[in-house]
C-alpha cells in the first residue's frame, strides 16, 4: 500500500520515510566498498574496485579516488556517473571559495555545501537523489586531518573510521573492535587490509581489486594523496593471509 509513496522523491510515506532516498542507499549497498581510517599522522582510504576486466584500458590513475582540491580528497561508492557529477561540483565549489577568499576551503564547509546540494534533490525539483555515498579526507588549519562521510539524503558526519558500500556494517563493527584513536598510518594500513579481507572473503582479495591511498601533510605545508603501489598492496595481502594461516593452526 505504501508503494503509492515511493515513486516521488518529494513525498513522505505514511510511516514518515522517504523511499527514494532509501532506494538510493540500497543501490550503494551493492557497490564496491570504501573504507576510511583517521590516523594521527594521516588518513587512509581503501577502496574495492569492481571493474577488473583485463580488457579494460587503464588510462585513469584511480577508479574510486578523486582529488577535490589541493587539501581534500574523496572516495566514492555507488553509481559512477552520479559520482562524477558530484566530484565535478565539489571541485567547482572548492575553487570558487579559493577565488573569493584566497585561501583553501575548510573541509567541513566543502562537505556541508555539497550536502546542501544533495538535500535539494530530496525535497524539490522532481529529480531523483544521487546514488552515491562519499568519504572525504582532508586537512585544514582549523581542525587538522578530518574524515567525513555523506550519503544520498544529504546527511554528513565526521568519523574516526568508517565504511561505505557493500558489507559496510560488517566492516564498521570490525573497525569498532580494532580501531585505536592514537593509531599511526603504519598501523592503519594493515588494519584496513584485515578488514577488507574479512568482508570480501567470498571473492578472494587480490591487489588488482584494491585501491589504497594515504592523505598526509608534508613538511612544506601541503596535503598529499599517495597511492600505495600495487606490489606493496600484494605484499600486505600475502602477509595477512599468512597471519590467518597461523591463527587457524593454533
Amino acid at each position: 500500500m505504501s508503494r503509492r509513496y515511493d515513486s516521488r522523491t518529494t513525498m513522505f510515506s505514511p510511516e514518515g520515510r522517504l523511499y527514494q532516498v532509501e532506494y538510493a542507499m540500497e543501490a550503494i549497498g551493492n557497490a564496491g566498498t570504501c573504507l576510511g581510517i583517521l590516523a594521527k599522522d594521516g588518513i587512509l582510504l581503501a577502496c574495492e574496485k569492481r571493474i577488473t576486466n583485463k580488457l579494460l584500458d587503464e588510462i585513469f590513475e584511480t577508479e574510486k579516488l578523486y582529488r577535490l582540491s589541493p587539501n581534500m580528497v574523496c572516495s566514492v561508492a555507488g553509481i559512477t556517473s552520479d559520482a562524477n557529477t558530484l566530484v565535478n561540483e565539489l571541485r567547482l565549489i572548492a575553487q570558487r571559495y579559493q577565488l573569493n577568499y584566497q585561501e583553501s576551503m575548510p573541509c567541513e564547509q566543502l562537505v556541508a555545501s555539497m550536502c546542501d546540494v544533495k538535500q535539494a534533490y530530496t525535497q524539490f525539483g522532481g529529480k531523483r537523489p544521487f546514488g552515491v555515498s562519499l568519504l572525504y579526507a582532508g586537512w585544514d588549519h582549523h581542525f587538522g586531518l578530518q574524515l567525513y562521510q555523506s550519503d544520498p539524503s544529504g546527511n554528513y558526519s565526521g568519523w574516526k573510521a568508517t565504511c561505505i558500500g557493500a558489507n559496510n556494517a560488517q566492516a564498521i563493527s570490525s573497525l569498532d573492535s580494532d580501531y585505536k584513536s592514537d593509531m599511526s598510518l603504519q598501523e592503519a594500513i594493515p588494519l584496513a587490509i584485515k578488514v577488507m579481507y574479512k568482508i570480501m572473503d567470498q571473492n578472494k582479495l587480490t591487489a588488482e581489486k584494491l585501491e589504497i591511498a594515504t592523505v598526509t601533510r608534508t613538511d612544506e605545508g601541503t596535503t598529499e594523496m599517495t597511492i600505495i603501489p600495487r606490489e606493496t598492496v600484494a605484499e600486505l595481502i600475502t602477509k595477512r593471509e599468512q597471519e590467518i594461516a597461523q591463527e587457524t593452526q593454533k
Binding site: 585513469f60 590513475e61 582529488r67 577535490l68 582540491s69 589541493p70 571541485r91 575553487q95 579559493q98
Partner: protein, 160 residues
C-alpha cells in the same frame, strides 16, 4: 597619464639553455608616488610555470586569481600539470572574454614544458593576443627600454 602607467612596472622574460628567467621590478607606485618597494608581481602557477603581471595592479591580482581557478580545475580533471602552450590558450581565452571592457593588465609567462623540459616564454596584449617568444619578451612601462637592452645583450644558449 594612461591607465597602463598608473602603477608602473618593468618585466622581462628570457630563454636560455634548458632554462628560462623571469624578472620584474618591485616598485608599487600610484602615479608619481612610490608606496612600497617590495611588491610581488610574479605568481607561481605550477612547479615550473610562472606568470608575471604588468599594468594596473588590481587587475593583475584579479587576472592571476581567476587564472589559478581555471588552472586548478584543469589539473584536477586532467590529473596532470598544464603544458605552457595550453596555458597560453587559457590566458588568451580569459582575457578575450573581456574584449570590450578589458583587464588593464598583461601577463608574461615563463616556464618549462612538464614532459619535455623545453623552455617556454610568452607575452600578451590586454585582450589576449599571444606572442610566443623564442628569445625574450619585455613588458610594462619600461618595456621599450628593456627591449633595447635585450636586443643588445641576449644571445642564444645562455646558461643559468
Amino acid at each position: 597619464m594612461s591607465i597602463d602607467e598608473y602603477n608602473g612596472c618593468a618585466i622581462v622574460a628570457m630563454v636560455g639553455k634548458d632554462c628560462v628567467a623571469l624578472a620584474t621590478d618591485t616598485r608599487f607606485g600610484v602615479q608619481r608616488s612610490t608606496i612600497t618597494t617590495d611588491f610581488q608581481r610574479v605568481f607561481q602557477m605550477g612547479p615550473r610555470l610562472f606568470v608575471a603581471m604588468s599594468g594596473l595592479v588590481t587587475d593583475a591580482y584579479t587576472v592571476s586569481a581567476r587564472l589559478k581557478y581555471r588552472l586548478n580545475l584543469y589539473e584536477l580533471r586532467e590529473n596532470r600539470p598544464v603544458s605552457p602552450s595550453v596555458f597560453v590558450s587559457m590566458v588568451s581565452n580569459l582575457l578575450y572574454e573581456r574584449r570590450f571592457g578589458p583587464y588593464f593588465s598583461t601577463p608574461v609567462i615563463a616556464g618549462l614544458d612538464p614532459t619535455s623540459g623545453k623552455p617556454f616564454i610568452a607575452g600578451f596584449d590586454c585582450i589576449g593576443d599571444p606572442s610566443i617568444g623564442s628569445d625574450f619578451i619585455t613588458d610594462g612601462t619600461a618595456g621599450e627600454q628593456l627591449m633595447g637592452m635585450c636586443e643588445t645583450f641576449w644571445r642564444p644558449d645562455l646558461n643559468k
